[in-house]
């Protein structure tokens, strides 16, 4: 087994920085995605109806990777916002630069209160109006956008409720009291919202979304995903062994093991030079493919 980290031989070993994979370039999550028929249909329906696509499913099932891959394939602009417990309703529309405004006021350089200098457009604003996106790709400026609102269930319940009108009508009133909407010639954005279903979304919000439930992966799906992600490094025998281990209960019974952990295990085995013939891949799988299941009991 190749050891990328070996305390015993660390002092004698020459520097091998190149062997350690760079995380960003080693992953192909934004460049490879296995679309099944149901997912394709759901994206089509969301695009055709102009409704947000609400993607539900267990962690690691590919909810967040769907949006960038749709944007990549359709050559759409792409914006993402990861929702946290501190996300506020207007964060997806704009953020106010209050300190900049205060600083200008104390220096006597205060601009018009509705000046764009005091407001930073959020992903939904950028998606609707590419003119405010200063860092966007110029070649895609006249293309529609895909907006990913990731893990919306982490936010307070008023966040999704405050987005009902902007998502429903794809327009909102900006801080300068002007209506922000998609200009003519640029199509409506595709809004993809993901949720781990950690808490319930309101019925009004659910009613406005096209819902796509990603199911836990089966063996064929895992192998196909592995082929796509690993490329030339795909080890069929090892992938089959891991898929069987995943499917046959030793791992799949744990609620948090999913496609992402399966790929992590394959990548780890490849980097460490493990094959299906070596017995050590099972120990690697126990570490990489099994994640601790959280205690879902509310009893403290």
């Amino acid at each position: 087994m190749i050891k990328l980290f070996d305390p015993a031989g660390e002092s004698e070993r020459p520097t091998e920085v190149g062997r350690i994979p760079v995380r960003d370039t080693a992953r192909l999550d934004d460049q490879v995605y296995l679309f099944d028929d149901r997912t394709v249909l759901a994206v089509n329906v969301a695009l055709a109806s102009g409704r947000p696509l609400l993607v539900l499913g267990p962690p690691g099932s590919g909810k967040s990777a769907l949006a960038p891959n749709v944007a990549r394939l359709m050559r759409f602009r792409y914006y993402a916002e990861v929702v946290t417990a501190r996300t506020e309703p207007h964060d997806l529309l704009w953020r106010e630069e209050a300190f900049r405004q205060l600083n200008d006021a104390t220096r006597g350089r205060l601009r018009h209160p509705g000046s764009r200098a005091y407001f930073r457009p959020g992903p939904l604003w950028k998606a609707l109006d590419p003119a405010v996106d200063e860092g966007g790709v110029p070649a895609l400026r006249d293309r529609p956008a895909v907006v990913l609102i990731d893990e919306i269930d982490k936010a307070d319940p008023d966040v999704p409720d405050a987005l009902l009108d902007p998502l429903n009508n794809l327009r909102f009133v900006g801080p300068d009291r002007r209506t922000v909407t998609a200009p003519e010639g640029v199509g409506a954005p595709l809004v993809v919202i993901t949720s781990n279903q950690e808490r319930e979304l309101s019925a009004a919000f659910l009613r406005r979304c096209i819902q796509l439930q990603l199911e836990p992966p089966d063996r064929e799906h895992l192998l196909e995903v592995a082929r796509l992600h690993m490329g030339d490094d795909y080890d069929d025998a090892l992938a089959v062994e891991l898929a069987e281990m995943f499917e046959n209960g030793s791992v799949a019974t744990r609620p948090t093991a999913s496609t992402a952990e399966f790929l992590d295990t394959l990548r780890a085995c490849r980097q460490m030079g493990l094959t299906a013939d070596s017995g050590e891949w099972r120990a690697v799988a126990d570490l990489a493919m099994v994640r601790g299941s959280p205690d879902t009991s509310a009893y403290a």
């Binding site: 329906v45 506020e88 319930e200």
Partner: protein
Amino acid sequence: MSTGPAHLGDLLRSARVLGVSDPDELATLAAAMGLTLSSASPSARPSDASSDRGPRATDPARPSPDGGAAPEGPDATDPARRSRDGGTASEDSGAADPARRSRDDGTAARTSRTGPAGTDASSAHTAPSAPGGGGTSTGPNHPSPGTPGSPESPPEQPPDPDTTPPTGGSLLLIRAARPAPDLEAGHPLWRENVATDPRDDGAEALLGHAEAFDVPWATAPPRPAPPWNPQTERAIFLALAATCRTGRAVDHLRLVDMAVRSLAGGRGARPRVPYRQRSTTRAGVLLLIDRGESMRPFRHDQEWAARLAARILPPGGLRVLDLRIAQGVSRDRGRTWDPHPVPPHGQPVLLLSDLGHLQPPLPGRHHSSPARWLPYLRRLREAGSPVVCLTPYPAEEYPVAVRQAVGLVPLDRRVSVRFAQTAARQDPRRAGRPR
């Protein structure tokens, strides 16, 4: 998903954009959007034919406009059929996941309201053998032993929530308004307690069909209706569980006020940005469930409230503890007891208790009185935790000292969001004083 006009419009628009004209493709598209087309699938046609008797004939669970139960087909009293139906949608929605069950129930109810049978697979499958029965499970809560079309009446009848008071349930059901008839008919709550045996475990192959020996209804007692209005329970709970925190949005009104005071020559305040307050559940909630004797009749309401909290609050934000005022709190369902907890500063405390209001004629050793609760309630307040007690009784029935120590919100259908906001935000120390 809703079958409202907005989504029908979405379906038509999507079909036009995607160039869908074939009925089967249209049905697939509708299914992807969460809509049900009653006549789209050829497999649904037989049940459509049965729907000629009228919409209610295909939806036995739906009450008639005059308030009575809808007429049932011959199979409605068939124990074997009822046993088979026991494994369908209403029960398979999962007892282990209350949030999911709630959503599934809602979906099922909406589906059943969409009209004729044949909208789901089970109904299409059973329609030919049950011409008048429709697809949805009729539910034993509408028995018709004397129906002329049912030659074999079952020897016993299941409990009927419409006529039988729920055993072991909340007294609130007597005092509060009854739920809407369609809710009662669409949610046979007592059937949720039925344990469904797995059908594919091989036992049937070994022992043969056991349906004839099945009890034709659930033996579990009926579960009472939720004490709050299901349409507003979420907002009511959020009003009680949320706390005010400083947000990131500038409070322009206060900013203008500060500027005006500064221009008017008031005391020069150092420049600062006033931010708006927003309500959030970030602080979490400590949910204390009173396991005293006086709350025993309301244990279903306590379970309901705990499920509601788990649905609405983030997973890490909810802590549920059993509480007996004389013993402390228990984390292991009463095996061991710890001292009364005081949560971190600012974390709301929701207390599911009557605070010893109910005085049984023969009080046991765990019985309490309102006076015994006061020291703990005051300790919580002094620790900076807003305390709200969800009680089965009106606030007016409590002594002034208790009303001053804690906000009281009845477990009652008449409670509104506004009432909950007021109860949660007002200073309980003023609650007993005349205005």
